[in-house]
Amino acid sequence: MKSVFQLHLRQIYRENDWLLPLLLLVLALIGAPLLTPSNEDPDLTFSSRTQLVWATAWFCSILYTGFVSAKLGAFQRNKGLREFWRSSGLSDHKYYLALYAIPLLLNVLFFGTAAVLAVGFGRNPEVSVPEWAVVNLQAVIVAILGQAPASALVIGLANRLDTAPSFTCGLLFNLYGLYGMGAIDQIRGGDDARLSVIADLFWTVGPHLHFADFMNRLTFGWGALPARPFFYVSLYLAAVSVIVAALSVRLWRYRTSR
């Protein structure tokens, strides 16, 4: 398990592609004031930096981390490593977890960097440093938990599909959880009773990945989420991750090639 993790972590590290998202985050920090009328309202500089940095982190996580997950999963199957590791005695579960840890680490890197940049350069002077740090820390935690199900799904699917289809499925899952839920919520409140019932069902099933998006809280200075709701949101997202990972491990099960 440790060998698989080290081997592919080193593979991703040596590809150096992960530097690009970090560069984008720095560029977002520098470029944000240029996109807002900060001359008229200097306070906008801070909120625009925070907004653009966090949006970039989400963008990189959804696209880059999703792609890395798909690539890692498909690499095992296409390069015959599944058989090699399985015959060495490594169980499907441990194999899956060794790979799954890598996109989680990448998300820690991207969202962690976004938080550090936001705390350092996106803080409105009216907000205290500890308060601002807590909001960003909360945002990091829920963002990592919110992105975990997609990575789990993509790795599992890559065992059945190839890189591009599994990446696309992960992308669609993310878009559905992050934005599709908003559309479903609107349908729930609509006039059509039958549609509302169906929308209710979809709303109940979820996944409500939009809970992980703290963008408004960060941009509009709403402050940290109280401890109890934050705990429930984290618990919900962690539960979604566990359920999706459990289903994905089934997809990851070794299959004979013929």
Binding site: K2, S3, R14, K79, G80, E83, F84, S87, G89
Partner: protein
């Protein structure tokens, strides 16, 4: 610990039987078995069955661990063989041993994807041996390990394996083209005509050819 392959064991995919074991044989520690057969006869299927990658169609194999290195397996192309062995080894001594193997086989230390086909193959064999060493595998199955190797590497491997028959704890199961038997192994198994049977290690080429084609006089007919 030996693995006894029982008489009557049927191997194949799902319900499709590829070959049946005729006569018992065992894989004993620190020995070498050569697996001979024409293309598609069932050599790889037997190796996969022994490795637990596919279940037997009929009969049971005692539970064991057997590392299987297929011809197709590939490692991250952007890492050098030494970087890969650093990840696969569990101790410093294993890592040092793997590096010695790389050195002996003259595998270049540059990105695995940039190595020549032969060097990649040599590196793969080292990775398999290292994995077997670090995980204490009782059996190691190598599918066509000599294909694509130059004669220097081939001779080195033969020398190495012949030496290690006394030291290495694992049983080496090697599938090979019947015309290329490189040394006298402890055991030879022929997979042909839907049957898997042990044959004496000094069986001549003409006898082997007869077993493999079921017709020594004429070339294989096309239907």
């Amino acid at each position: 610990m030996s693995l006894l392959v029982p008489n009557g064991l049927q191997i194949g995919y799902r319900k499709r039987v590829v070959a049946t074991v005729k006569g018992e044989f065992a894989f004993n520690p620190a020995e070498i078995t050569l697996l001979l057969g024409l293309n598609g006869a069932g050599k790889t299927t037997l190796m996969k069955t022994i490795s637990g990658l596919i279940p037997p169609v009929e009969g049971k194999l005692p539970a064991t661990r057997a590392l299987y290195l297929s011809e197709e397996v590939d490692f991250p192309p952007n890492l050098s063989p030494r970087e890969i062995t650093a990840c696969l080894a569990r101790t410093r001594s294993e890592r040092a041993q793997a590096n010695r193997w790389l050195c002996t086989l003259q595998v270049e230390d540059r990105a695995y994807g940039k190595l020549s086909k032969g060097n990649r193959h040599k590196a793969r064999l080292v990775f398999a041996q290292l994995t077997a060493l670090s995980r204490r595998m009782p059996i190691v199955g190598l599918d066509e390990p000599f294909s694509g190797l130059d004669f220097v590497a081939r001779e080195q491997l033969i020398r190495d394996w012949s030496d290690r028959r006394r030291e290495a704890p694992w049983h080496l199961l090697i599938s090979i083209h019947p015309a290329e038997i490189p040394f006298v192994p402890h055991q030879m198994i022929v997979v042909a005509q839907g049957e898997i049977r042990p044959v004496p290690v000094h069986t001549s080429w003409s006898e082997l050819r007869e077993m493999l084609t079921a017709d020594p006089a004429t070339p294989l007919a096309c239907s």
